[in-house]
């Protein structure tokens, strides 16, 4: 069973915008023969994400950026895990680059941005107790 919700297009649209930006960068740097596959993969991924978001299941509501408080919590935990794994991967990449005597700054940027985001997040959400849209936030606050 499929459904259509307002926020369902948000992530796929973001994927298309970022993917098109990547394809444009590839076009400038490597030419159209490499840029076209990037754009095709982007569109396929965005359409797949959109279709998954239409499923009336836990996974569907999470992909569709909707759902009740439990599903929001699941999404939040999945996002937190994504962040932790990304930072770990960046730290490992940083160490590998040091060992190879190769440039480390791309991995350093990822770790630095993650650390800064964590500090900013603490500052913001400590003040507001929790973020808007999360379980525990009064309905009137979310609007």
């Amino acid at each position: 069973m499929m459904r259509l919700s307002h926020g369902r297009l948000r992530v796929p649209a973001g994927m298309v915008i970022l993917g098109t930006g990547l394809a444009a960068a590839v076009l400038v740097g490597q030419g159209w023969h490499n840029a076209i596959p990037v754009e095709v993969v982007t569109v396929i991924a965005a359409v797949g994400y959109f279709l998954l978001g239409g499923l009336v299941t836990d996974v569907g509501t999470i992909y569709g950026s909707s759902g009740d408080e439990r599903q929001q919590m699941v999404r939040l935990r999945a996002q937190a895990l994504t962040g932790v794994v990304t930072v770990l991967a960046a730290v490992i990449g940083y160490m590998v680059q040091i060992a190879r005597r190769a440039p480390t700054w791309p991995f350093g940027v990822v770790v630095g941005v993650a650390a800064a985001s964590f500090v900013v997040g603490l500052a913001i959400y400590r003040v507001h107790d929790t973020f808007l849209g999360s379980p525990g936030v009064p309905e009137e606050t979310r609007k």
Binding site: G67, E69, R70, G136
Partner: protein
């Protein structure tokens, strides 16, 4: 934490889907609450209790644990 949501729902002859629709949550969430795998937020706990016309402590018992399955 043990709860009596399933018991109260069946007493009213409601399906999980009907209770979910009445509470504004998904059926999967009702299932998770009934099985004790998910503790609802305070607002949702109050919505559940009000729906069954009982107090929160009649629905949720903080003193008891759901047995391991």
């Amino acid at each position: 934490m043990r709860n009596r949501v399933k018991e109260q729902r069946t007493q009213r002859g409601l399906s999980q889907a009907e209770l979910a629709a009445a509470l504004g949550v998904s059926r999967q969430t009702v299932i998770s609450i009934e099985s004790g795998r998910y503790l609802p937020s305070l607002p949702l706990a109050f919505r559940i209790a009000r729906f069954f016309n009982v107090t929160v402590d009649k629905t949720f018992d903080p003193e008891s644990e759901v047995p391991e399955t």
